[in-house]
């Protein structure tokens, strides 16, 4: 019984059947996702958790596909092992004979990478990196330069943002752009360029005829109170930008005042007339973070495929040369 099961699992016929079946299931899945999209709302990237977190009969093709690829993986492993053992026993030392087997091995690693990536990839909401350091986990990111080029019709062509990454005392530099992500941890963490331009970094307040440049969250002293530029609002529903000031004085409750940009919209804060004069902007990039623990595995699969394909090609060339 066990032997028959093993023979079935390592049969090439099973591999062929499962190969066609998985191709067919993917076709069905693709068409279903396109023509009946409602059950797939929220499915993104390479995610496969979606199908398990939201089980549905509509996903039947995926469950069968998952099972099919599992069988395919086992089958490919056993077939490869079998053929390699046969060749080794026969004393085959020509490396090109093992090209196909290496491709099979790469296929197995690819399946594993898709499993790991599909289950554990996460994506963060986009955030801005400006000229002042932005903390992220155990590093600090800072934009040190931004260059852009355009086509004659004004369409953006290239973006080259210099990102300084500080970890402890060590600072390194990476270039961020379209098709050029900033990567950390052997490519597992990837910052992708989402947008670029200028972002507000601070405000200019005039208090008692003197201008003060404040970064957001920075404070100044007005008549003994610590007044912080706590927030800047530039929502389209507002006619002009508004800064939120929060005044803190020892022994008193914090007070907040909203001041609109312009000469005619001053407010009294802690007994002083405060004007919101200007907004300080600086270059910035918006990035999205993707964490995919399967990247090293996928790169391993790429490497194996390359080796396997090269060996197969060498073998084919030898065969063609032999024919002539």
């Amino acid at each position: 019984m066990l032997t028959r099961g093993y023979d079935l699992l390592k049969s090439t016929k099973l591999g062929i059947v499962v190969g066609f079946a998985t191709a067919g299931l993917l076709m069905i899945g693709s068409l279903q996702m396109n023509f009946y999209p409602a059950p797939y709302a929220g499915l993104a990237g390479e995610d496969i958790r979606f199908f398990f977190d939201k089980p549905s009969l509509a996903h039947w093709w995926f469950y069968l596909l998952f099972l099919g690829l599992g069988i395919y993986g086992i089958n490919a492993f056993l077939c490869t092992l079998d053929s390699v053992l046969v060749r080794l026993r026969a004393g085959a030392t020509n490396l090109t004979l093992y090209g196909g087997s290496i491709c099979h091995l790469a296929f197995l690693v690819t399946l594993l990478a898709h499993l790991v990536g599909g289950l554990y990839t996460t994506q963060e909401k986009p955030f801005t990196i400006g000229e002042s350091p932005t903390p992220f986990k155990d590093v600090e990111l800072r934009l040190a330069g931004l260059e852009t080029t355009q086509y004659p019709n004004g369409m953006p062509k290239e973006v080259r943002a210099v990102i300084k990454i500080k970890k402890g005392d060590k600072e390194t530099e990476q270039i961020l752009g379209y098709n050029h992500p900033v990567t950390l941890d052997h490519g597992k963490e990837e910052f992708l360029l989402k947008d670029y331009g200028e972002a507000p970094q601070g405000v200019v307040l005039r208090v008692a005829e003197r201008s003060h440049h404040l970064a957001l969250k920075e404070s100044l002293n007005i008549n003994g109170a610590n007044v912080q530029a706590a927030g800047l609002f530039m929502h389209p529903s507002l006619q002009r930008p508004v800064v939120r000031l929060v005044a803190n004085k020892e022994g008193e409750n914090p007070r907040q005042v909203y001041v609109t940009l312009g000469e005619t919209s001053s407010k009294v804060v802690e007994g002083a007339q405060v004007f919101f004069e200007d907004i300080k902007v600086s270059q910035a990039v918006a990035v999205g973070l993707k964490e995919n623990p399967s990247v090293p595995l996928a790169l391993g699969a790429v490497l194996l495929f390359c080796v396997g394909v090269v060996l197969v090609i060498v073998r084919l060339i030898k065969r063609i040369a032999h024919q002539f």
Partner: protein
């Protein structure tokens, strides 16, 4: 020469090559060296025309439907030239017919200047797309051999060899092309795989032809290679054209 003049020159090249290829319907019936010369003339003109477009946009000219169809027809004619020794008329005309169909379809799309969007500007795109087109053309050769197999009983062995070559070289090239595509996906979107129609159908193609090249291990199935070649072409056609016209995909070209 400015970009506009180069584009105009490339459009002229398109129409002249179109004329040369049209004559192949006549010369393709003739002897090997004549039909080879006609094909080479068409290919040279097409290559020059594509190069003019490339110089105009300073990039690989695969940025819109016109260039895509035009380039695919180039790949199909290149494979036809490679297999020029094949004397099966049905094989030649089927492969040529597919290439000519795409060449004709290209005429219906805008031929003006279009710059590649920033996400196309990567070496992975440059490697991925032309290689995919070559593989599509090789699988079209398998289709042509499959059709000729049904209609030419005396050439069956030769046609099976052509089918096998298309399957094998197509899959080899496509595997490498998929690796390039995966690397492009990783640097551009952070994913080497997406639940996107074009990507899913590319995986379908890979799985299908991977199974096809193992069919020799199942003697009873070997006789169905021509059928598989036809089915494979239909899948390839849907992957290439269908995902851009009939279902939604972020890879629409």
């Amino acid at each position: 020469m400015d970009a506009k003049s180069l584009i105009n020159l490339s459009i002229l090249g398109y129409w002249v090559s179109f004329g040369v290829y049209t004559s192949f319907w006549y010369f393709g019936l003739g002897e090997r060296s004549t039909r080879g010369k006609v094909l080479m003339t068409g290919l040279a003109l097409q290559l020059l025309s594509l190069m003019c477009r490339g110089m105009a946009i300073e990039y690989l000219p695969l940025t819109n439907k016109f260039e895509s169809f035009y380039a695919f027809s180039f790949a199909a004619f290149l494979v036809l030239l490679w297999t020029n020794r094949v004397e099966s008329l049905l094989y030649r005309l089927t492969l040529f017919g597919v290439g000519y169909g795409f060449l004709t379809a290209a005429a219906f799309w805008p031929k003006g200047l279009s710059y590649p969007p920033p996400l196309m500007l990567t070496i992975w795109y440059v490697l991925h797309v032309p290689l995919s087109f070559m593989c599509y053309a090789l699988w079209t050769s398998s289709l042509a051999a499959g059709i000729a197999y049904f209609r030419s009983p005396d050439r069956r062995q030769e046609m099976v060899e052509l089918i096998d070559n298309g399957f094998m070289y197509g899959l080899l090239g496509f595997s490498v092309s998929m690796l390039f595509g995966g690397l492009w996906g990783y640097v551009a979107w952070g994913d080497y795989f997406l639940w996107d129609a074009k990507v899913v159908w590319s995986v379908v193609l890979w799985l299908f032809y991977s199974a096809c090249i193992h069919v020799d291990h199942w003697p009873r199935l070997k006789g169905y290679k021509p059928h598989l070649a036809v089915a494979g072409f239909l899948i390839m056609f849907f992957t290439y054209v269908g995902t851009s016209f009939f279902i939604s995909s972020s890879h629409r070209f």
